[in-house]
Subunit: 154 residues, 2 copies
DNA sequence: TTAAATAATATCGCATGCTATATAACCTGT
DNA sequence: ACAGGTTATATAGCATGCGATATTATTTAA
């Protein structure tokens, strides 16, 4: 009797068991859920860190905003230029550094600050509704540790 | 004595306490870590679900691939057309449905399948290194529940 | 059997993210 | 004062993702 190896199926990969895949999927769903809530107000999820950082009349440089949002500088530059185009932020020269600009929210943006907070809370509540109280804190803690582990490499 | 209300600071928002923000951040770090490992081989993280789905010679339609990757159809169309341009996949007409096309990996792509698996395992291991064994399973389980909760709404 | 509904792709337009690189202003040490 | 390094922003070019809509083929129902 002879045996034949038909196929190895080495490429079987269960996406549900991959932290990277699941995290990416969850992130896209978070973004979509937030965008759906903010679109009627003319905002989207990339505006959120800027709105929060510039809340209460704060004025920050592009660099400070990029750090607050943990995104790269060119990405923040693009986001700010879209927000400026849409009348959400205004820029003025930093009086102490001619290289830098200081950004602040315009009155129309300030009026929408509550909507941003509400969207964030609503979506987080819906997502975390699948976890019990103890798990919620642990989830955030684990995410922070995963971020720290990955951030260390680059 | 008179008191003055200086500011309300209602917009204070701790990103570390927002599941949506942390998930998005972690997802971007996962993608960057994987891209760094796959770039030398001419691949990137969007190729991964396609590579896995078409592994071992499987042949799937664009729709099936989009479902496997849990992304929208136009996104998969764009990814497949880039992969076709770069010689990673080939398409042929579905003999049973003239609307549909069947995609499969080209030999050069198959040769890189191991690199994709290695990158996925390496990055997941590094990320989950911040969690103990019990937490790892719980993390994946929680992500699945969060995905299910958010997926339910859209 | 044919009109209407459904299904698979294609395409447009846009936002968000990245890397790599350029430019201009600032700072430091001599 | 100034050469050289650092820092803040700008820009180019690209990938990945989305929603909206068009096109063509298939299926279903009358």
């Amino acid at each position: 009797m002879r045996y034949y190896l038909i196929a190895s199926y080495a490429m079987q990969f269960d996406r549900d068991k991959s932290a990277g895949y699941m995290t990416n999927w969850a992130a896209r769903l978070f973004a979509r859920a937030i965008d759906r809530r903010l679109k009627p107000v003319g905002l989207s999820c990339a505006h959120m860190p800027v709105m929060f950082a510039l809340g209460d009349g704060r004025e920050l440089s592009q660099k400070a905003l990029a750090e607050a949002a943990a995104i790269e500088q060119p990405t923040m530059a693009a986001t700010l230029s879209r927000m400026e185009r849409d009348g959400l932020v205004q820029r003025r020269q930093d009086p102490n550094d001619r290289r830098a600009a200081l950004f602040s929210l315009t009155p129309p943006a300030r009026e929408r600050a509550d909507a941003v907070l509400a969207a964030a809370r609503d979506v987080n509540a819906r997502a975390l509704g699948a976890l019990d109280a103890a798990e919620r804190a642990l989830f955030l803690d684990m995410l922070a540790r995963v971020v720290a582990a990955l951030d260390r490499e680059g």
